[in-house]
Each structure stands twice: as structure tokens, then as C-alpha cells.
């Protein structure tokens, strides 16, 4: 029987049971998709709709009226530009540091004959399940004199044990041992093997790690909030927190005060549209790259699940 014949036969056998099942399944998936999508569409629509229509509930899915006033205010706010710049720096520098620490470590751990390997493995794994806590970390950063420096942001998250394990698993399973052995016989040192053979063959996992770490840096706010007090160093998420969380009750914040809004009601209207705009602006880089990189993220989880 050829493949097409098999397929034909299957199609013929689409029983009533199959039809019921498929219908139910599609309804279920549509439900998942709709529930996920609705809040996202709402935020996008609200950021470009007439504030009065949003606040009165007339805008409930697609934009009603059109205004870019929210975006204009956001782009005119110096804090947001500053935060943006800092976040880009933390994300790029932090991710490079993460890779420089994670990749060599993961490679060394693939060496089964390495003395003390299981001890080192344990030392790394244990950190996934136990930690000294927030205050001892705070004191450590303080004692090291890192407080209010960029290192307080970059160093405490320099390596994630989970990511080391994923990278190790990838290098273990996707790079043929024979290749490394051949290079060693030809006189290549472990450094040489790592830089000339393992790294070039690891580009998929490097992409995955860069994304995992990168998104982590982009979205992080808590460490930055407790370790940084210098306004010039704060990242976007900290600015966002001030803008969209702290001001939830009062409308008293710099972006809105700088506007022509006269009455309290007008200010509240404006505050709403600014919040939605700033959510979009801050998430935009992720929204733009996400659809293209989604498969890398998924790949990362799949590699992790092999030895999860």
C-alpha cells in the first residue's frame, strides 16, 4: 500500500466519532486562544483609542476613535528613554556575561572522566533547591561594595543552574564524541576543542540561552529595585512600576503633570491611555522578535525535558 492509499483509507474512515472529537477539540483550542488573545488585543486597542471611550467601556475589543496621545506622552517622558537605554544595556551586557559563564561550564561538565565531576554537579544542582534567602544576598552585595552599581544587577544573576543543565544536555547529546576525540588526537587542547569545535556546533543552544537569559533581564525589576537607588541607573521595568502600579490610586506622576490636562477627570482619562501605551512600548521588542524566535524557546524547553 502506498502512502497516498493509506491516507485515502484514513480519510474514508473519518467516523462520526472522529467528527465529534474534532469539533470538540477545535472548540477547546479556540477557547484557549480566545482567552489568551483577548486581554492582549484589548491593551493594544486601548492604547490607540479615545480615552473616554475606553474608560466608559464603549471600547471593548477593537479601537474606537483614534488617538496617539498616549504614545506621544510616553515618548516625551525622559524617564522612559532613560529606562529603555539602561534596560538595553543590562540585557545585552547581562546576556553576554551569562553566556560567557554558562557555556564553558556546561562543556566541562560533559566530560565524564573529569575528576570531582559529580561533586561539582551536586554543588550546582543544589542551588536549584535551596538558597540562603533575600537578606543574606542583600548583605553580600552590600559587603562586596556592589550596591548601586551595574554589577549589582549583572552579577547576582550571572548563571542559572537550570540553564547550565540544559546546555550540558544539548552538548552531551548533539555533539558527537568522535569529533572531539579526533581533534584531541590531532593535538587540539580542551580550549581548542571548546572554541573551535563545540561552540560553532552549539549555535542552536546559544540562541536558546541568549533568549532565556535576555528575556529574564528585560523583564526583571525586583533586584534592580532593591539594589539600585541612583535614578540614572534604573531600568525600564522599575520606571514602569512607578508609572503603572504605584500611581494606580492617585494621578500624581510626572508624565501626567507635564500635560495640559486641567481637571482631575481629564488627568485620569489620560493616565489610562498612557498606561496602556507604556505597556505596549515596553513589551514591543519582545512582541517583535517573539514570533520568529518562538521555536527556539520551545526547543530549549524540549532539551531541558530530556533530562528534566
Amino acid at each position: 500500500m502506498t502512502k497516498t492509499e493509506v491516507r485515502k483509507k484514513r480519510r474514508q474512515r473519518l467516523t462520526r466519532d472522529d467528527i465529534v472529537f474534532n469539533t470538540f477539540n477545535y472548540i477547546l483550542i479556540f477557547f484557549f486562544v480566545a482567552v489568551t488573545l483577548y486581554p492582549l488585543i484589548y491593551v493594544v486597542s486601548a492604547s490607540i483609542s479615545e480615552p473616554t471611550k475606553v474608560n466608559s467601556g464603549q471600547m471593548w475589543l477593537w479601537p474606537v476613535g483614534f488617538t496617539t496621545v498616549g504614545y506621544e506622552k510616553v515618548f516625551r517622558d525622559p524617564d522612559i528613554w532613560l529606562g529603555y537605554r539602561n534596560t538595553i544595556f543590562y540585557t545585552v551586557a547581562g546576556t553576554l556575561l551569562n553566556l560567557a559563564f554558562t557555556l564553558p561550564c556546561a562543556y566541562a561538565l560533559t566530560k565524564k572522566t573529569l575528576p570531582f565531576k559529580s561533586l561539582i554537579n551536586f554543588v550546582i544542582l543544589f542551588t536549584m533547591f535551596f538558597s540562603g534567602g533575600l537578606i543574606p544576598l542583600y548583605m553580600l552585595v552590600n559587603n562586596m561594595g556592589l550596591m548601586d552599581t551595574i554589577w549589582a544587577v549583572l552579577l547576582p544573576t550571572a548563571v542559572s543552574a537550570y540553564n547550565v543543565i540544559i546546555t550540558r544536555t544539548f552538548m552531551d547529546t548533539s555533539i558527537p564524541d568522535g569529533l572531539e576525540e579526533a581533534a584531541e588526537i590531532d593535538g587540539c587542547s580542551p580550549f581548542g576543542v571548546f572554541f573551535r569545535i563545540v561552540l560553532p556546533l552549539s549555535s542552536p543552544i546559544i540562541a536558546v540561552m541568549a533568549l532565556f537569559y535576555g528575556v529574564g533581564h528585560w523583564n526583571s525589576y525586583f533586584n534592580e529595585m532593591i539594589f539600585l537607588s541612583d535614578r540614572a541607573k534604573i531600568p525600564l521595568q522599575v520606571v514602569l512600576r512607578e508609572l503603572i502600579i504605584i500611581t494606580q490610586m492617585n494621578t500624581d506622576n510626572s508624565v501626567i503633570n507635564n500635560t495640559e490636562a486641567k481637571t482631575a477627570a481629564e488627568m485620569q482619562q489620560l493616565a489610562g491611555v498612557i498606561k496602556y501605551s507604556v505597556m505596549i512600548v515596553s513589551t514591543l521588542p519582545i512582541i517583535v522578535v517573539y514570533p520568529f524566535l518562538q521555536r527556539f524557546f520551545v526547543k530549549g524547553v524540549m532539551i531541558g525535558s530530556i533530562k528534566g
Binding site: 484589548y42 466608559s56 533575600l134 543574606p136 580550549f191 528575556v215 523583564n219 525589576y221 502600579i245 524547553v301
Partner: protein, 314 residues
Amino acid sequence: MTNAKETVPKRSLSQRFVRSLKKHWQYYVLLLPALAYFIIFCYGPMYGAQIAFRNFNARDGITGSPWVGMAHFLRFFRSPNFTKLLGNTLTISLYSLIAGFPFPIILALSLNELKNQKFKKFAQTVTYAPYFISVVVMCGMLISFMSPSTGIINKAITALGFEAVPFLTKAEMFPSIYVWSGIWQGTGWGSVIYFAALSGVDPQLLEAATLDGATRWQKIWYINLPTLMPTIVIMLIMNCGNLLSVGYEKTYLLQNSLNLATSEVISTYVYKVGLVSAQYSYSTAIGLFNSAVNMLMLILVNTFSRKVSENSLW
């Protein structure tokens, strides 16, 4: 004779060590940065956590401050906050586990049955997306949507003729807000791991079941779901190891003075006692209690699971 016997293995041992070091030193150099990180930034705080058993003061430092034993722990256990914090934390995490655990599995099984590849891709892209939204934006969305005066949820409620609900200032609503927003954000991403595991289903088994007249339901129930079982058990174990860790990041952002009765959890309390009111030792003790309980739960559940189901983390 005896002399030679003793010296030969000795020399070869030290020789072996030197040779091994010569052969391996570059690997240790590769390991060094990450290892230094773990020792300084993970084990350093563990060492510093001894201040939980001391009355820390800056002058005497971590090792010099007077030893008080379990005093800070006892103070915490006896304080009226203890039961409240433990209750709030357990409520949120158990609620989260019970309500949230099945969704990723259902989504993965359902996605796996889709024959239309394009639609499958689309559904995956959409459902994974919320995971990448930052916690600050997520909480901003919640606050905006739930606003009693302008939020879309209350607009819908009042349009149906009911009274607006001040969700975020009603303490009894907090666990639900926390848990269901978490489900919205995490279901798609959580399904990836199950979806990956489903690629391990033996196609011959499915074929054989089809020939024997099994329905799609039966194939899911008797073939796909059992294939997922090891992954499900592992995920359950991991979740039990996090039973007392309701993260401060989201909780802290959604907290306000009116919902504090249910929204104050151990991690946010540690932050406030430690960094806001600077009671380092007391706060560290609470954090250490939290970590220790998590660790204990993980070991217990893992041991139990290894005996009962032969699935375990180690």
C-alpha cells in the same frame, strides 16, 4: 620486596594525579567562572544565613554577632503573623497547584490532536505569548482591567445589571486574582514540556489501537496520558518543592493596604521585615524556615514517588 610493593602504587597514584591534572586543568579553567559564581552568590548567602541564629549587628559582622540559637525562629512561630502568613502562602500555592496543574496537560493533549499544522502553529504561538510579558506589565493590566470605575471587567458586570466589584481591594478576591492570572500567563508555556513528551508516544501503538477500533478518546486516555505520566509526576514533585514559595515579585505589585489580610505571604513579609524595617536576623530566619520546608517537602515527595511510581528527580 615489601618496600617496593608499597612505593610503586604510591608513586603511580601521585603520578596519576599529576597526569590527570595536566590533562584536565583546562576543563577546570572553563568551569571556574561559573563555579566561582555559585560559590560566591549562592553559597555565600547560605553561609551568611547563619545570622538567623545570631543577633546580627554591623559592627560584629556575620560571624562575630552574638549567638542566640533558635530564638528568632521561636519568635516567628509564636507571633500572630505566623499562622496568617503560613495560611496565606499555602492557600495561594495549593490553589495554584490544584487549579493550574491540569490546564497545560489538557492544552498539550489537545494541540497534539490538531491535524492542521498551520493552525497548530498559530495556537501555540498565541498561547505561549503571555509567558514573555513582564510581571510589572502583567500587574498593570490586572489593575487596569479590574478598576472599579473604568476597568473593562466591571463595565461588563455593571452592564449585566450587577454592582461593580472592587476586586483588588477585596481581600477575599486576592488568591483568585493571583492564581487565575498566573494560569493565564503560564498555561501555554507549561504545556510545552508535555507537548515535547508527547512526541515520545509510540506511533505503532497508536496504529495498533486504531486497527483494534479504539476511538480518539480511548487513544488519549490509554496511550497518550500514560506516556505523559512520568513528566506529570516530575512536575508534581517540583511543584511540591515550591509549596511555600509564592514569589514576592507579583504579590508585591498587587498588594495594597486593603488586601493585605490575604496577600501578605512569607516572601513579601521577609522583604518588608528585612529590607524595609531592617530586622536582618529575624527576616533571615523566616526565609531560612521557608527554604528548609521547601527542601524537606521536595525530599519527602521525591522519596514517596520513587517508592510508589518509580519516577523521581534523583
